[in-house]
Structure formats: structure tokens, C-alpha cells
């Protein structure tokens, strides 16, 4: 089975991924903040036992990861892949995750809510991610009655998630919008439609997501986010075209120089690495630059691969910053595909 980021999806020149997250709580336990250690352990054991049956669903197999029993490096690496949240790995007390082999699904146990069901799809494909999460939600609900209120809907620890418990997001690559300083304007424009944007580190990657979870159906929430995403995509494309028309030689030069640095540098800081990879992605989408080989052409797997915890896992030991920057350069040299010139 391909990983979600190896699959092709709509508008993948700009949309890296689509994500759906459902917050759910079981009816019989207090919410995580009021659970004793024993109750939390009992909750996780019960979830683990009953969810073991999910393995057979659609041939997707899951890894069960208890936060007590994996290393700090592994925990951080999971956040670098967006499979688990910062809140899960820093949680005081028992917490766990079930992650599917293809990384398209992760279920967080006893994070801020008893269950956070997450599903990913490559490119612009909320529908696919929703179907995965929805199906899983029903399968889990079959084993456990949920905390649900006739008027307020699914009940969550934070009232900001109540109702549908649904948070949907797109990860977007926006080099032209970011490069022309238009982000603040976009943030305030989309805010009026209940959508927020936040940067996810360097590399011109941004996430847009719905702020509100109550009062709209799941379909309405997804439709609204998709409409907003189309507006942003349109703007990004228009700006890319303009920048390219104004200075084709300069843009090509930048993209190829970035490739050259990545291919031949001996030490590389994370931020520079992400920004150079962003240039390469821009070049691939614009067709200035072509990778050899088959399959999806995206630098996103490299962007994950050069994150600090990923490099340390690869090295099998902790690395100080100097060694990490060195390993990062080595990693890129080895994995960056050759060009067709």
C-alpha cells in the first residue's frame, strides 16, 4: 500500500495534504483532564483491546505505540510526520497512539479527548480523508457509546471542539504568496469565513483549517474550507505566473542554484534546507526542473526526512547540532533525485 504522500491527488502543485480530525469521548469515563492515572490506564487498555479488531478493516494494519514505551526521539519523529500531536507526546500520564502502516490514519488515545481520529490524503482530497475517518468513527462507536448531547452534539474537553468535533485542514505550499508578503491580508480575509491559517515552520508550508465546529454539518464545514482553499490556490497560481513572466531567467536561476546547494553542500541548517526544498518544489510545479525516475514528484518526503528527530533516528543516536547539520546535508545528497536536463 502506498503511503498517503506517495499518492497523487488534486491540485498537488499547491496542496500537499488534506487532513480530517474527529474528537470523541467515551460516555462512561470522565474526560482526560479528570481521569486518575488508574482510570487512564484502564481506558487505554480497553480501547487497545477493542480496537485490535480494526486491523482487519480494508487490509490496513496498525502499530500500537504507548507513549511510556517509545523513545523521546521516536515521539518527536511522529510529530514531524504529523501523525501525533505535540499535546500527546508532552502529556503527563498514560497516552498512546495507533498508527496505520500506510500513515493515512492515526488514532490518539487519551490526548485532550479520549479519542482523536485523524485521516490523511495526498493533495486536495478531503472527501477521501473524511470517508476514512467517518468509517473508523462508526466502527469505534460500535464498541463504545460516545459522550453526546442532543443539542450540542459530540461533547469534548474544550468547548472549542464541541458539536461535530471536526477539524479539517489542508497543508498548502505557498511560496509566491509568502514571498510577496500577502499572508497577513489573506489571514484576515479568510478569518471572516471562519478559517484560520498558520505556518508550519520554514519551507513556505501553511495549514488552513476551520475554527468553528458547531452549527454546521460536516459536509458544510468541508465545503467551506474547500471553497476558501480554491481562492488561495487561485491567488498563488496567479502570483506564480506573474513572478515567472516578469523574471523567468531569475526564477530559473534561483531554482537551479538551490538544487546545486542542496546537492553539494556539506552542512545544512534545517531552515535553509526547508527553504531550498521549497524552491525545488516551486521549480517542479512550474516545470522548470524535472526529476529523473518514476512515481510522484514531490520534495515533501525529503522535508520530513531532514527534520531533527528523523536524522537522529537514522543515525541511531543523539546528534548535536553540528553533526545534525552534517547528516542533513548527507541525507539530501543521497536522496535528492537526479535532474533531467
Amino acid at each position: 500500500m502506498l503511503k498517503w504522500y506517495e499518492e497523487t491527488g488534486d491540485n498537488e502543485d499547491i496542496v500537499i495534504s488534506s487532513r480530517v480530525r474527529l474528537a470523541r469521548n467515551l460516555s462512561k469515563y470522565p474526560f482526560p483532564v479528570r481521569l486518575s492515572k488508574e482510570q487512564a490506564r484502564e481506558l487505554i487498555e480497553e480501547l487497545k483491546a477493542k480496537l485490535a479488531g480494526l486491523d482487519e478493516e480494508e487490509g490496513r494494519s496498525y502499530h500500537y505505540l504507548s507513549m511510556d514505551s517509545i523513545s523521546d526521539t521516536d515521539k518527536v519523529a511522529l510529530t514531524e510526520r504529523h501523525l501525533v500531536s505535540e499535546a500527546l507526546i508532552t502529556k503527563q500520564g498514560p497516552a498512546a497512539a495507533m498508527v496505520s502502516e500506510d500513515e493515512s490514519v492515526s488514532i490518539l488515545l487519551n490526548e485532550e479527548d479520549h479519542l482523536r481520529i485523524q485521516a490523511f490524503a495526498g493533495g486536495m482530497n478531503l472527501d477521501k480523508a473524511w470517508k476514512l475517518a467517518d468509517k473508523l468513527d462508526n466502527a469505534i462507536n460500535k464498541c463504545f457509546p460516545y459522550a453526546y448531547h442532543e443539542k450540542l452534539g459530540y461533547l469534548t474537553s474544550f468547548p472549542t471542539n464541541v458539536g461535530t468535533g471536526l477539524r479539517v485542514s489542508f497543508m498548502l505550499h505557498l511560496p509566491a504568496i509568502a514571498g510577496t508578503k500577502r499572508l497577513a491580508g489573506i489571514a484576515s480575509d479568510i478569518g471572516r469565513f471562519g478559517v484560520s491559517i498558520r505556518g508550519s515552520g520554514a519551507g513556505n508550508l501553511y495549514q488552513i483549517y476551520n475554527q468553528k465546529t458547531l452549527g454546521q454539518t460536516e459536509q458544510e464545514i468541508m465545503q467551506n474550507l474547500t471553497t476558501i482553499a480554491y481562492q488561495i490556490i487561485k491567488q498563488e497560481r496567479k502570483l506564480r505566473k506573474k513572478i515567472t513572466q516578469e523574471n523567468l531567467v531569475g526564477i530559473e536561476d534561483t531554482v537551479f542554484r538551490s538544487y546545486g546547494i542542496l546537492k553539494y553542500c556539506k552542512t545544512l541548517e534545517i531552515e535553509e534546507g526547508m527553504n531550498l526544498l521549497s524552491d525545488i518544489q516551486f521549480g517542479l510545479s512550474g516545470g522548470f526542473l524535472k526529476f529523473e525516475g518514476q512515481g510522484k514528484k514531490s520534495v515533501y518526503p525529503l522535508m520530513m526526512g531532514i527534520q531533527p528527530a528523523h536524522l537522529q533516528r537514522l543515525a541511531g543516536k543523539p546528534l548535536d547540532k553540528v553533526k545534525r547539520d552534517r547528516c542533513r546535508a548527507d541525507y539530501i545528497r543521497e536522496h535528492l533525485p537526479e535532474l533531467i536536463i
Binding site: 460516555s27 479528570r34 453526546y148 450540542l152 468547548p159 454539518t217
Partner: protein, 175 residues
């Protein structure tokens, strides 16, 4: 410290706002605080020091009585909720509903769920959720209808009215 709004007068009101676990600290002068109808309205804002005027004192008194409310199931107090923005169990939503309804509406812009419902509910494990009684169903639709009217969404209101009528007819209740 100067007031964060006017940057002129000394700040006398400090409070911490927690939304979804994100902490924001604010400092305002009395004038600006009054203007912003903050003092008793802001969701999940904890007033650390309100020194001024009858307005602030009154709202403090109100807060005091509200803080006494405790959820019998999980023992979370309204005070805990205000300071952390997090609820302790499903019953908290019923216990604190009159207190938090306004906040929920403010955050969410709405207070009626219209999305997915669980296929399976409490008591009846592995059995599809028992339908609401018709009376309950009508009650819910009525609330939605009022909501639609308030929002001046007449199209929605008309379709809700039809739904209510159909239910009543089905059940032989006089319209």
C-alpha cells in the same frame, strides 16, 4: 505597565484568557476595559485583579456565586473551568450549561448541532440509537426554527416548519 489598547494610561486590569489551551495575557486601563465590555463577557477570561468601579465589583460578586457550582460527577468547579477552559466530563455540559451557553455561542457562533449523530448510543450497545420520541424531536426542531428566525434564514425556517408539521401529523398531534 501601560494599557495595551490606548498606550496612554496605566493598566489596572490584568487578565488571562485561555482558549483551547492557548494562554493570552492582557492588560488594560479602566477606561478601555469599560469600553470593551470585557469584564463579565469575555469567554473564559479570568479576572486577576479588577480594581475599579461598581461595574467590576458587581461582576466579581456574580462570578463568586457562579464559582460555587460544582459538577457532581467529576467534581470540576465552574472556577476550574474558567481558569483552564476545559470541562471534566459529559455531565459538566448539563451542569454548567446555563453558565457556558453564552460562551459557546460566542466561540462557535451557534449552539445547535446539525451534523452527524452517533449510530450507537449509551445503554444499547451495538444497537442503533433509539430514535428520539416525537415530542423530543419536535422540541429540537422548534429550537432550530427559533434559531433560524433569529438569524433571519427564512428558507431554513420554512423547511423546519414543514418538518414539524409533518411530524405532528404523523403522530396525530394537532398542529
Amino acid at each position: 505597565m501601560l494599557c495595551e489598547k490606548c498606550h496612554e494610561r496605566e493598566a489596572t486590569i490584568f487578565y488571562t484568557e485561555i482558549i483551547n489551551g492557548v494562554k493570552n495575557e492582557h492588560s488594560l486601563c479602566s477606561e478601555c476595559a469599560k469600553d470593551m465590555e470585557f469584564v463579565d463577557e469575555l469567554p473564559f477570561a479570568e479576572l486577576l485583579a479588577g480594581i475599579l468601579g461598581a461595574y467590576a465589583v458587581e461582576s466579581e460578586k456574580k462570578e463568586d456565586t457562579m464559582e460555587q457550582v460544582v459538577c457532581p460527577t467529576c467534581k470540576l468547579s465552574y472556577r476550574d473551568f474558567i481558569s483552564q477552559g476545559v470541562l471534566g466530563c459529559e455531565d459538566c455540559y448539563n451542569v454548567f450549561e446555563p453558565l457556558i451557553e453564552g460562551n459557546i455561542k460566542k466561540i462557535q457562533g451557534n449552539n445547535i448541532h446539525t451534523g452527524k449523530k452517533p449510530l450507537y448510543n449509551n445503554m444499547t450497545m451495538a444497537k442503533p440509537q433509539a430514535e428520539y420520541s416525537i415530542i423530543e424531536e419536535i422540541q429540537i426542531l422548534k429550537e432550530k426554527l427559533n434559531e433560524a428566525l433569529r438569524e433571519e434564514d427564512y428558507e431554513e425556517a420554512a423547511s423546519l416548519r414543514d418538518e414539524i408539521r409533518a411530524l405532528r401529523e404523523r403522530d396525530g398531534i394537532d398542529a
